[in-house]
Symmetry: C2
Subunit: 84 residues, 2 copies
């Protein structure tokens, strides 16, 4: 059973993304209440996507002979991964 | 031309996601350097996705007769939106 709290600070994590941010994004949609697990699930999904985009962006930057990841690398990686 | 800095704190934003987090995720991929614009681009992409997932999750929770968004709403919304 999911606990319902107004903010999920109680979950520990080594994630790069903050749980409070996830909570705010979901609340912005108009949700009355958001379970801890929902905020954590969104974080996991976004983190996984971010890592996949970053990994492909790195390949693209190296492919272009650069050591710096630029916004075009991120855009193309996201396009490929998300099939935008 | 993109400025290259080690962390993009200089960009102001009303985003829910932190630029420093984006920078860390990209650095984790093994990138030597990350432009400010790259971190900002990743933030925009993730924020847009998060909002779309949250909006659909809200619809799904209401459809199920709930006022609380649960992790299953987020999972199904992400599956639909990302075609996972």
């Amino acid at each position: 059973m999911e606990r319902v709290l107004y903010c999920g600070y109680s979950m520990s994590s080594s994630s790069e993304l903050g749980l409070a941010s996830m909570y705010r994004v979901i609340k912005k949609s108009g949700a009355e209440r958001v379970s801890d697990e929902a905020a954590d699930e969104l974080r996991k999904i976004l983190e996984e996507l971010a890592q996949r985009i970053a990994t492909q962006a790195l390949d693209l930057s190296l492919h272009a002979g650069r050591k710096t990841i630029k916004s075009d690398d991120i855009k193309l990686a996201a396009k490929n991964i998300l099939k935008l």
